[in-house]
Symmetry: C4
Amino acid sequence: QRRDTPKPSGRVFAPYAIFKGKAALSIEPCLPTFAKIEPGNLRIDRRGSVMMTFMPSIGERKYDWAKKQLFALSATEVGSLISMDSSESSEFFHDPSMKSSNAGQVRKSLSIKPHADGSGYFFSLTVNNSLLKTNDRIVVPVTKAEFAVMKTAFSFALPHIMGWGRLTGQVDTAATQGITLH
Amino acid sequence: QRRDTPKPSGRVFAPYAIFKGKAALSIEPCLPTFAKIEPGNLRIDRRGSVMMTFMPSIGERKYDWAKKQLFALSATEVGSLISMDSSESSEFFHDPSMKSSNAGQVRKSLSIKPHADGSGYFFSLTVNNSLLKTNDRIVVPVTKAEFAVMKTAFSFALPHIMGWGRLTGQVDTAATQGITLH
Amino acid sequence: QRRDTPKPSGRVFAPYAIFKGKAALSIEPCLPTFAKIEPGNLRIDRRGSVMMTFMPSIGERKYDWAKKQLFALSATEVGSLISMDSSESSEFFHDPSMKSSNAGQVRKSLSIKPHADGSGYFFSLTVNNSLLKTNDRIVVPVTKAEFAVMKTAFSFALPHIMGWGRLTGQVDTAATQGITLH
Amino acid sequence: QRRDTPKPSGRVFAPYAIFKGKAALSIEPCLPTFAKIEPGNLRIDRRGSVMMTFMPSIGERKYDWAKKQLFALSATEVGSLISMDSSESSEFFHDPSMKSSNAGQVRKSLSIKPHADGSGYFFSLTVNNSLLKTNDRIVVPVTKAEFAVMKTAFSFALPHIMGWGRLTGQVDTAATQGITLH
């Protein structure tokens, strides 16, 4: 969704990509946006997320970008994922048109299930479109090490998608006047 | 409390808000302030905190800002919260007028208790005012995922409310003279 | 490998070094590089890593830099290491010439094995060169405390070698125009 | 020790202080220093540490700064502390004159021992001076919550005292020329 809006320059693209036989999963944080409020302050406007992009494979090491499906994890869903222990499952449900007249037309669900032997997880994204009468399902197996990368990178990203990364850089101008601070 | 002092510009507002049926809880870090000391250094002045704002509901998805109650977690209380395991309870007591002539007049207590089934916690703020003879209690149920967001965001915020975020950016000017550092 | 390319100025060298009787291990993150893409954005180009340099000892507190052997941990290998619990082993295999005509000529393997008493780990790097008919093996015992330093420092470095450190600093220029942000 | 050297301006002081009945403990990270090397790069010069300052009490809420004792935790000692589980003890030994002609004259040891009931730890600093024939011992009880603050703040500080905080800010000038990066 965010991908389709006009992009300002100065952005940095660094997806964490997991390429497997039948599908790929690419993960990237999306930062929040801020609105100006008086007197010269900022208030968080659109919340950030961790965007997961699933793509089915169409041959050896080739993935079909046109058939990609997106799932944007909210801060609370990220919290859910990073607190999963090795035997737990999670499932998240999204309706991209929630609260609009198209509500219920498309239903997405992301399921995360541990392998029985503890060696990793299955990430399965199901997208059901009642209008087009389609039901897509893309499954990517994720190893324990790849899941550990996610947990650490998501823990790092979480305060930033919440907008708390900005808070730590703000300066009390009265106290620091005349001193150059990092 | 901090909310009532004149605010410098350049601040960023990004509360983490949990809206539930009977009440809402909004959480935001408050950075410390610094005082100038010789020769051109800074010393921490007022310590930072994690400010929790509880608001009772007054209808569907409406919350009564006028009846809000604040509770500012200190660094050590944040440490207590982030080290809680899933079966533990915590309780913190504050007297907003401690060490003044009004000490004991208002007593606040924040209680964090796990649900019996491990699915989350109850955050209960009780404010007892012996002068006004009022006793307010606002309870917000917090899911396991929301608590995980708190733990991660509080761990991120803790060094910053302690003032240690500033330490890491300081530059030994002798050694780095002539080199532009981040 | 990265060591041999021309270096821009402004770099910072701060290896974490473990000196033991028979060998030393020096560890340092290598940041990713970025390529410019339109309109004024950056895309990650070469991924970062955590570079491990093993050196055999040639006398008391002297180590043979000329006989050093390198092993660059990828993000996923870093994830694997930081998620190891105290009784687990790991082994990683690298072929420095993978996908070239020299593939299979040199095989490197890094093995991490816990001591039986839980007091630490053995880090063993084996480099097998089928052309030179050499087989080098350098072993460094790592204490539990040194391993804890690695886990914490690698968790810190991981988002940066993935390129996610850059993401958090990017600014939505539309929203923040006219305000100086950290 | 570091306290006695001439200080450049621009420093920030934000100790984490624990005041108890018989003594106080004040904790602060000390950043490493860097030396310039060709061509315009920096190499870590003096390693950083986490400085612990113990002071005996001389009355209610009064502490004797003149009788303070210092203990500078190295990166590896910090790693040891943050990986302690709730039933473990640690002990660190320092000789401030190590490798000089005064070696062995002063011996310092920091002992960290859990309370039997799991409610916290005793931090005991013993300083034995064989020349002055003195043997000082300062003990500060540390609650579980205060210890959690230390673990989180030390985990934050560790990469910075190692000098890795600087690594993440360095910029590959070739790739980013013409783009302003954070």
